[in-house]
């Protein structure tokens, strides 16, 4: 079996997150692999529908939950459109886990601030559950999550679950005009909401993921709040094919996002040419 051959996995659960975004739970068909499969928060995989091809997403479930993996995706391309058609019981392909990860173990004793925009919550959700499943190892947990509209918020049940916990501070927001009647969260873009929430930067790390514009605008705000570039982590998305450092597609300057990333600190981002 060569490195490009996928493992087979069965779809055991699916959740329609929004009109165009869904979450799949996958269980490996190979029993030994199902038992032994391990990964770190932030790693990604190549998911495939046979006949449509492969697509790259992070693993959206936490490494603390074993026996399955989950992915969340928006149906925008050929493969994601096909993944949107699969049903419980169907077989899909998976290669991974690939890439580096969030150094969660280094954050013990620190406050963790999560900031996500839109579908950018998927990779962050993996880290959130990883931290919450080991809750007493960390300090305060703050989540700031925004989407274009109430309908575009993903993981709605989990947002409620996190909001109900006393050991998590969560702020949800929707872009102006995206609110509905009865919306009790914030109205405004993610960046000013982060600024208003003002999580303390001392002994804290921030995890940031979202559309390029959200990342670009939020980085300076975090700097203003006192977060050092080394304490801000993000995960980059670039088009990939192999995920193995061969196909030459995901380079940003001399960095192979699939091998040197996808997780980078803001300090590392500043070293890269502005081509992402």
């Amino acid at each position: 079996m060569n490195i490009y051959q996928p493992q087979l996995a069965t779809v055991t659960e699916l959740t329609e997150e929004t009109v165009d975004t869904r979450t799949l739970r996958l269980e490996f068909q190979d029993e030994a692999l199902r038992e032994s499969f391990a990964f770190h928060a932030g790693q990604f995989g190549e998911y495939s529908v046979f006949g449509a091809g492969e697509s790259t997403f992070c693993i959206a479930s936490s490494p603390t939950r074993t026996g399955y993996i989950e992915c969340s995706f928006k149906a925008v391309g050929k493969v994601t459109a096909s993944l949107r058609e699969v049903n419980v019981g169907d077989t899909v392909g998976f290669r991974g886990p690939y890439g580096n990860w969030f150094p969660v173990d280094d954050w013990k004793g620190k406050d963790v601030v999560f900031i996500a925009g839109g579908i950018g919550l998927a990779p962050v959700r993996c880290v959130i559950w990883n931290v919450l499943d080991r809750r007493d190892e960390f300090g305060d947990v703050t989540i700031v999550y925004g989407a274009r509209s109430v309908g575009d918020l993903v993981y709605k049940r989990e947002l409620e679950e996190w909001a109900a916990r006393s050991d998590v501070k969560i702020v949800t927001t929707v872009d102006p005009g995206g609110q509905t009647e009865g919306w009790t969260g914030e109205v405004g873009y993610v960046t000013p909401v982060v600024e208003a929430t003002a999580p303390k930067a001392q002994n804290a790390v921030a995890v940031l993921c979202g559309p390029p514009i959200v990342v670009k605008l939020t980085l300076p705000v975090l700097g203003k709040l006192g977060f050092a570039d080394e304490a801000i982590f993000t995960t980059l998305e670039n088009r990939m094919k192999c995920g193995l450092g061969k196909c030459g597609r995901c380079n940003i300057g001399k960095v192979y996002v699939c091998k040197d990333g996808p997780v980078f600190t803001a300090a590392q981002l500043k070293e890269l040419p502005a081509e992402f």
Binding site: M1, N2, I3, Y4, Q5, P6, L8, S48, F50, G51, A52, G53, E54, S55, V76, G77, T80, G89, D90, T91, G93, P211, P212, E237, N238, R239, K241, C242, L244, G245, K246, C247, G248, R249, N251, I252, G253, K254, K259, P273, E275, F276
Partner: protein, 386 residues
């Protein structure tokens, strides 16, 4: 390096014949009719009375007589025999919701490449690095392991050749198992790897050990030709590859790098003919109802869709950015990551470009920029000769 052996042209052809008779695939330069395709037939070169233009291509020999030893540069490099234009990575069969995945073989029958170009074998050794830097590409490695490559020293084809500027040479045996040097009456052969030694041993009867006055004469001939070819290649382009690398790395936004793609129209021919361009796409192809293959196909960073995200965002959204990537990857990114320039100076990209992009010219311009005294990375100034 082993002692030189001599082989006559007749013996070399006979050796190819022996391999073929034993069922071994022999890949070698072959002269083919350049007017065979309908589009070529219509071209003026093919319509001239009595015209019979030929292309040189690496082909599996059907007969030893086809072996072309005239030393022209094949249209495509040897890359196609190690990273095929497209190949199956696995196959699937679907019945209902049950899918079975079938592996493709990663071991290959032994084969021999005769009269390979030194720039083409060197390219394989360069690409070996990316194919093995962490995950090992078994398909590439399987074909590499199964192949014995015997180079034929190159006379340097034309002004687009610049192998000596990027660390290779017309008589290089990098990536190969042996080297044939043309001399009076035949070739001197040097085995440059264990595989090359085994090749010579298996065909010992075809080789003559070199001794006495004849050997001295042929040795001198070979040395003279080697020196002349190296000088000819060096005359086309001389650069300091290390300062070119460092300058590109430090000058991503420099106007020189930011305007390179102005003539390029993204056809990607340069990547197809390049012996070191290895970027690929992976796509699924149906082969019938409920079955198909996942295939990898050559791709090119010059295509606008290469980095296009499904969201519509494109990190390299203009041709200048894409051409800069080509230069950056070959002369800075790869050397910094793997210690090798991702180019062996074959010059095919320049010859094939219908827009007139000339890599010799581009490298010269970058080299000049890197030598400028105000260049931020001019770590070692030009030595001043009194």
């Amino acid at each position: 390096m082993s002692d030189a052996r001599f082989i006559s042209e007749n013996d070399l052809r006979a050796l190819a014949g022996e391999l073929l008779a034993a069922g071994t695939e022999v890949i070698a330069p072959v002269a083919v009719d350049a007017c065979a395709s309908p589009s070529a037939m219509a071209s003026s070169a093919c319509r001239m009375p009595g015209a019979a233009p030929v292309d040189i291509e690496y082909r599996p020999l059907a007969d030893a007589a086809e072996l072309d030893l005239e030393r022209g540069l094949p249209v495509l490099s040897l890359k196609q025999y190690f990273l095929p234009e497209h190949e199956a990575l696995c196959r699937w069969h679907q019945r209902g919701t049950t899918i079975q995945v079938e592996a493709v073989p990663t071991t290959f029958a032994p084969r021999v490449v005769l009269a390979a170009k030194p720039c083409d074998s060197a390219a394989l050794a360069v690409v070996d690095k990316v194919m093995n830097w962490d995950y090992e590409d078994e398909l590439w490695n399987g074909r590499r392991a199964a192949t014995t490559i015997i180079n034929l020293a190159c006379p340097v084809v034309d002004v687009s050749c610049f192998c000596t500027a990027v660390g290779s040479a017309p008589d290089d045996s990098k990536g190969a198992d042996g080297l044939l040097m043309p001399v009076e009456g035949g070739y001197l052969f040097e085995a440059t790897s264990a595989k090359g030694e085994a090749f010579a041993a298996a065909h010992a009867a075809r080789f003559a050990a070199e001794a006495g006055g004849g050997a001295d004469l042929r040795g001198r001939q070979a040395a003279e030709e080697r020196a002349a070819a190296r000088a000819k290649a060096a005359g086309n382009l001389e650069i300091d590859a290390a300062s070119v690398r460092d300058w590109i790395d430090a000058h991503f936004e420099d106007p020189l790098l930011a305007a390179l793609g102005v003539r390029c129209n993204a056809c990607g021919a340069c990547s197809s003919v390049c012996p070191t361009c290895h970027c690929f796409d992976i796509v699924d192809e149906e082969e019938g109802v409920g079955r198909g293959a996942r295939r990898r196909c050559w791709d090119t960073c010059q295509s606008p869709t290469f980095t296009l995200h499904a969201s519509g965002h494109n990190p390299r959204d203009n041709q200048n950015a894409r051409y800069r990537q080509r230069i950056n990857h070959k002369f800075a990114i790869y050397p910094l990551k793997f210690g090798e320039v991702l180019c062996t100076g074959c010059g095919r990209c320049t010859r094939v470009c219908h827009a007139g992009q000339d890599l010799v010219e581009i490298l010269q311009a970058i080299d000049i920029a890197a030598r400028r005294p105000d260049s931020a990375v001019a770590a070692t100034p030009e030595p001043v000769t009194p």
